[in-house]
Amino acid sequence: MAKDIITKIKEANLLGRGGAGFPTWMKWEAVKKQEGQGKKIYVIANGSEGEPEIFKDEYILKNHPQEFIEGIKIALETFANSEAIIYLNHKYFDKYKKNLEKFSEGFPISYFRKTAGYLAGEETGLLNHIEGQRVEPRPKPPYPAEAGLYNLPTLVNNIETYYRIYEIKNDLYAGKAFFSIEGDVKNKGTFEFPENYPIKKILEETGNWPAFDFFVQYGGGAAGTIYLPEELDEPKKGATSIIVFNRQKTDALKLMQRWAEFYSKENCDKCTPCRESSIRILEMTKKNKLDFDKLEKMFFVLEKTSFCPLGKGMAIPYRTLIEKVLKK
């Protein structure tokens, strides 16, 4: 039975829905290998959703709590001697825990209220937070699958991933994903589309394709990439969040400043490029003076030398905004 579900996930080609897009079956198989050593296995649902303007996990918590919990139960069945923790940001915890409990009662499923910042959404930062350690990403290896929470084998998946696993198990999965749409649009909200659907079609079919000149941030309200209208015909990778900006009405520098505030506050300050660049970019945007040469240098070390994905990805929004919007 266990093998079944992992094979099924593999055949469905499900990629993690937290944004990184790692094949889910690989994580499951890595954890499965740790079974039978008498060790407890932790199954964690990551509901931290800390990136600005993403709320598709909330949509699931609100509208599909039972299916989500079923997904977790599938994991509990798959791994012997396992226990689940649902890790929710404090807002979601306060709002949805009661209702979720209706479905999780009687199972070894507990809830953890996330009080720490954005980095506690990164899977190893999350483990540190639950353990009461300082929230910063852990070196890998060891991967959580081998030595995760309290050094025990740990599966960390996003909320939507569990929801999709429920679908896969029950042969309901049709390769769809939830997209959140925000910004200068008429119909904000969460919509379900095939995972490789082009942004243009999504905006059109939800009645959100703007009549004005605009640009889009895709992949999250801080880490997302900036795209121009003519770039939206192809499917994109990354967190399924679309934010539309009215080009005339958007102050690009202010937008950069908002990101910089977010990053300098939410990063863990562990590594030099991320800690220092986030602060320096904030300084520049506050002073209204961008030094493109210095910026390019910082982008270089961010991408090449940051410790974790947060830092590695930080340059993308700035760089694409500067290239496509600011410099034009």
Binding site: P139, P273, I279, K304, F307
Partner: protein, 575 residues
């Protein structure tokens, strides 16, 4: 162990499974810069200066953590690594207060060294930390946030040395900075290990050497010095001498040159400590008391016990540390003998240790209401003092003349400075007292499951005493747990807060690592081997001192013994 070949910069190199690229490169003398890497600590991967290219990988990788794999091809010096290094260095440099001329650490500062070497100096941004506060922990430790580069070496080390970690990162607005803990149940033990592992000058001792410098010029004062056992084989490093060089006679000469009135050797008082501890242990054995006796000459360990483990205080020997015993003897026995006026005397000790600055303020150690010691200088401070007064240890002629009995130790007193030395010195005397024979060679076995822990079993008259010496609080904590579970497990336990004992102390020359610790310890042991007198009880000066002074019960009590108490959290000053 599995070994295989890798390539670094196209050179074929043997590597072992589990080895990391930075360590391999260093042993092959291939230079990779790094600020946060320290062989005492797990890689923290925070400074991002040790980035290398790995064939087949588009990102750079941190070599400090990167495990070698068969066939790996590593490039340390490519346009990409060089570009990244310069930018990250510049970013680090601009977070750090730009005030190198006035920094006590500049000669040993790795950031400064790299900035010059890679021409990445010059802040590319304004100094963002200029206005950050500074802190003092008790009388010992100085933390300057404006110089901190967030590497976390100090906090990693501190969490080993304390329970819970006294020095920790805390969010202060948009950034995290290093702060002393405000928790009621976490305190600093003043060991100075944070200083030893700081790659820049953000942590240092609270200095007293300027005061001492002034007093040396004051004609109305007689400044007397003592120096600890471990100082003799480390001070040379500050003057570029080979590791482990014994400079005892040069210390006498140098201090004389800068105006010392008299110079004593703390190792002599270590002999006194041994005589007293041996007596206490023998008395315990005679009484049939099987519980353990724990050494108390390390003030950081004593602070740890008083703050974190007060229920263990009853096992600590009541004997004072050598520094305090000698301080007491100077201000009583010696001053009387020499017919001097106590008011003219300034007593200074040169210590490998920052906790010794705290020890001299403990009121229960005062003698006739006065501090036994007026100033403690670390080895680093002494080096600065000598350099400022233009005394070069390399050039000065050794001077052995005019030594008081309080300046003539046995070999036993000198090995005090190395982890395990106190234990060995004590056993030499205990063995002799119980059997009438000299202990030839003490065989130590490493306690394999524990780091920096040595155990020995000595059979005396059919009775086997199990004794153990441990250094570094991280390791000592494990022994403490054993003692709590069974207080009779060991007859005698030596605990030194600093890894390796005082030769690795918080007041020693920087840098520190196991190779350096080994060389400093080896220097002490080779001196011991050459000595005619290798036991404390065999030191003729000891006989004189006891006959003239310490056989008097009252004198012995006020000079040699003390009490301990549960201690509240020490003072933290914000500046």
């Amino acid at each position: 162990m599995n070994s295989f070949k890798i390539h670094i910069n196209d050179k074929e190199i043997d590597a072992n499974e589990g080895e990391r690229i930075l360590d391999i490169a260093r042993r092959e003398k291939i230079h990779i810069p790094s600020l946060c890497h320290h062989s005492d600590l797990e890689p923290h991967e925070s400074c991002r200066l040790c980035m290398v290219e790995v064939e087949g990988d588009k990102n750079l990788r941190a070599s400090c953590a990167l495990l070698a794999k068969p066939g790996m091809k590593i490039y340390t010096d490519t346009p990409t690594t060089q570009k990244a290094l310069k930018i990250n260095l510049a970013l680090l440099f601009s977070q750090h207060e730009d005030n190198c001329e006035h920094c006590g650490r500049v000669e040993k500062c790795k950031l400064h060294e790299y900035a010059e070497k890679y021409a990445a100096c010059g802040n590319i941004h304004i100094d963002r930390k200029k206005k950050l506060p500074k802190f003092q922990f008790g009388p010992s430790i100085f933390l300057d946030q404006s110089k901190c580069i967030n590497c976390q070496n100090c906090s990693d080390m501190c969490s080993k040395q304390t329970k819970g970690g006294f020095i920790t990162l805390k969010q202060a607005g948009e950034t995290f900075e290093m702060f002393p803990s405000e928790e009621k149940n976490i305190d600093c033990i003043y060991c100075g290990q944070c200083i030893m592992h700081c790659p820049v000058g953000a942590l240092s001792e609270i200095e007293s050497y300027s005061e001492v410098k002034k007093l040396l010029k004051d004609k109305t004062k007689k400044v007397v010095f003592q120096f600890a056992p471990s100082v003799r084989t480390s001070l040379g490093e500050e003057f570029g001498m080979p590791l482990g060089t014994n400079v005892t006679d040069k210390i006498f000469a140098a201090l004389k040159k800068v105006g010392a009135y008299k110079i004593f050797d703390t190792s002599f008082a270590a002999d006194v400590t041994i005589i007293e501890e041996a007596a206490e242990l023998l008395e315990k054995i005679a009484k049939g008391d099987n519980t353990t006796m724990i050494s108390s000459c390390c003030p950081a360990w004593v602070k740890y016990a008083e703050f974190y483990e007060p229920e263990l205080l009853k096992y600590l020997t009541t004997v004072r540390s050598p520094q305090i015993i000698l301080g007491g003897l100077i201000k009583t026995y010696w001053v009387e003998k020499e017919n001097l006026d106590l008011r003219d005397i300034v007593s200074v000790s040169i210590m490998p240790c920052t906790a010794k600055k705290f020890e001299i303020e403990r009121e229960e150690l005062f003698v006739d209401g006065k501090r036994p010691i007026d100033y403690v200088l670390t080895v680093r401070e002494l080096a600065k003092l000598l350099k400022e007064l233009n005394v070069d240890l390399n050039k000065i002629e050794p001077d052995e003349s005019d030594k008081d009995i309080l300046a003539n130790p046995s070999g036993a007193g000198e090995i005090f400075g190395a982890g395990g030395g106190v234990l060995e010195a004590a056993l030499r005397t205990v063995y002799q007292k119980l059997t009438g024979q000299e202990l030839e060679n003490l065989e130590f076995k490493p306690l394999h499951e524990f780091k920096r822990t040595k155990m020995a079993e000595v059979t005396i008259g059919g009775k086997t005493l199990k004794v153990v010496a441990v250094s570094g609080m991280e390791n000592a904590k494990k022994i403490l747990e054993e003692i709590k579970a069974d207080p009779t497990k060991y007859a005698y336990v030596e605990i030194m807060a600093c890894p390796g004992g005082c030769i690795g102390g918080g007041g020693q020359p920087i840098p520190i690592d196991d190779e350096i610790r080994k060389a400093r310890a080896a220097g002490l042991y080779s001196t011991d081997e050459k000595r005619k007198v290798r036991t404390s009880h065999g030191n003729p000066g000891i006989d004189i001192l006891y006959a003239e002074f310490l056989n008097d019960k009252k004198n012995k009590h006020k000079i040699c013994h003390t009490t301990y108490e549960k201690r509240k959290k020490g003072e933290i000053k914000k500046i």
